[in-house]
Symmetry: C2
Subunit: 228 residues, 2 copies
C-alpha cells in the first residue's frame, strides 16, 4: 500500500502543458515563467523539471497542443474544401493562442500533432488534388506563408483598426506637422477605413481564396492531371 498522494493533484507532463497553455492564453506569453507556472499548479518551480527538460521543451509541448486543435477533414474529399477548412481552422486556432504565432514551424522536435498536420496536408495535395511533388511543395509553402503571415499582422494590429488608424495618424501629425503632405495616403487610410466600416477579420478569406483560386488554375495547367 502506497502512501496517499496530495488529493487530485498528481503532477504530469500533460497537466503541466495544459496549465502552461492556459497561463499563456490568459496573461500573454511573457507572463509564463517556470515560477508563475509552478505557483499556478501549486508546486515548487523545480518540481516541473521532473516532467519537462527545460522551458524550451515545455514550449515544444505547448505548440503541439496548438497543432492538435486544428481541424482537418479526412482524406478523399474535395481538395479545395479541405485546404480551405484547414486554413480557416488554423487561423481561428492562432487567434485563440496568439503566443504561438511565429513559432509553429520553428520547433526542432515536432510532436505527433505537428507531424500529422504536415503529413495530412501533403496527402491532400498529392492525392486529393493530384499535384506533382514539386507543385505540392509550392502550394504548401504559399498557403502556410500566407496563413502565418496574416495571423502575425492581425495580431500586431489593434482590434478597432479604423479608430486606431485615426489615433495613430493624429499622433504622427502632432509629432510632424508636415506629415499630412508627406504621407497623403496614410491620411487617406485613416479617413477611408472609417467610411467603409473596415473589419480585418474578413480580409483573411479574401487572400486565402485569391491564393486557392490561383493554385486551382495552376493545377489545371499541370501536364499530368491525374495522380503521380
Amino acid at each position: 500500500m502506497v502512501r496517499a498522494r496530495k488529493a487530485a493533484a498528481p503532477l504530469s507532463r500533460d497537466r503541466i502543458l495544459r496549465a502552461a497553455v492556459a497561463v499563456a492564453d490568459s496573461g500573454g506569453f511573457d507572463s509564463l515563467s517556470m515560477r508563475s507556472l509552478a505557483s499556478e499548479l501549486g508546486t515548487a518551480p523545480m518540481s516541473l523539471y521532473r516532467h519537462v527538460a527545460n522551458k524550451d521543451d515545455l514550449f515544444d509541448g505547448m505548440i503541439d497542443i496548438v497543432f492538435s486543435e486544428v481541424e482537418f477533414p479526412s482524406q478523399g474529399g474535395n481538395w479545395l474544401a479541405t485546404m480551405r477548412l484547414r486554413a480557416i481552422s488554423m487561423h481561428e486556432t492562432l487567434q485563440r493562442h496568439p503566443w504561438a504565432i511565429g513559432h509553429m514551424e520553428s520547433r526542432r522536435r515536432a510532436g505527433p500533432a505537428n507531424l500529422r498536420y504536415h503529413n495530412d496536408t501533403m496527402a491532400c495535395l498529392r492525392e486529393d488534388a493530384g499535384f506533382s511533388f514539386p507543385a505540392a511543395v509550392h502550394a504548401f509553402s504559399v498557403m502556410d506563408s500566407y496563413i502565418y503571415g496574416f495571423a502575425q499582422q492581425e495580431n500586431a494590429l489593434p482590434s478597432d483598426i479604423p479608430a486606431e488608424a485615426e489615433v495613430r495618424h493624429d499622433a504622427v501629425v502632432e509629432a510632424d506637422p508636415d506629415a499630412a503632405e508627406r504621407y497623403p495616403y496614410l491620411a487617406q487610410i485613416a479617413v477611408e477605413l472609417r467610411k467603409i466600416d473596415y473589419d480585418f477579420s474578413q480580409e483573411f478569406e479574401f487572400g486565402l481564396d485569391l491564393i486557392l483560386d490561383a493554385l486551382e488554375r495552376m493545377r489545371d495547367r499541370e501536364p499530368a492531371s491525374g495522380k503521380k
Copy 2:
C-alpha cells in the same frame, strides 16, 4: 571653448541604434541586452537611458532602420515591377536582420521610414495600379502577409533543408518505429527533396508571382479600370 570629449565616441541615439542592430545581427536578438549593448559601446548601461526611453523604444528605432533599408522604386512606373522589387527587397532585408521578423508591423510608434514604406505602397497601388481603395487594402494585406509569413518560415527552417528533412525524419522514426507507416508523406518529403535538390530561396518568388498574377487579374476585372 568646450571641454574636449572622449575622442570619437560621443554617444547619440543614432549610434546606439546602429550598434544595437549590429549586435542583434551578429549574436541574435537574445544576445542584445542593455548591458551587452553598453559594453559594446564602452559605456555604462544606465548611460543609454539618456538617449532611449527603454528597451522597447530602442527596438522601435531598430525596426525603423530595417524599414529604411527596403528599396522602393519611385512612383509612376509599372505597378507590378514596383511591388515585385519592393517584396524582393523586403525579403532580402529580413534575411539580413532575422531578429526583425514578426515585429515589422507590431510597433506602436512607427518611425519615418515605416510611414514612408506604407505610404508609398498605398500610392503605388492606388495611382500606378489604379486599384480602388478597398482593392488596394486587399492587395496590400495579401502581399505583406505572404512576405512576412514566408520570411518567418524560411527563418525557422534549417539552411540545408533536404539534409535536415532526412535527419528529422530519422529522429522521428527512431522515436516511433511506426512513424513510416503513420506519416508516409513526411517520409516522401525526406526522400524527394534530395532528389530535386531543393532550394527554399527560389520558393519565395514562386508564391510572390502567383499572388501578383492573381492581383493583376483582379485589377482587370475591376469596374473602373482607370483611377479613383
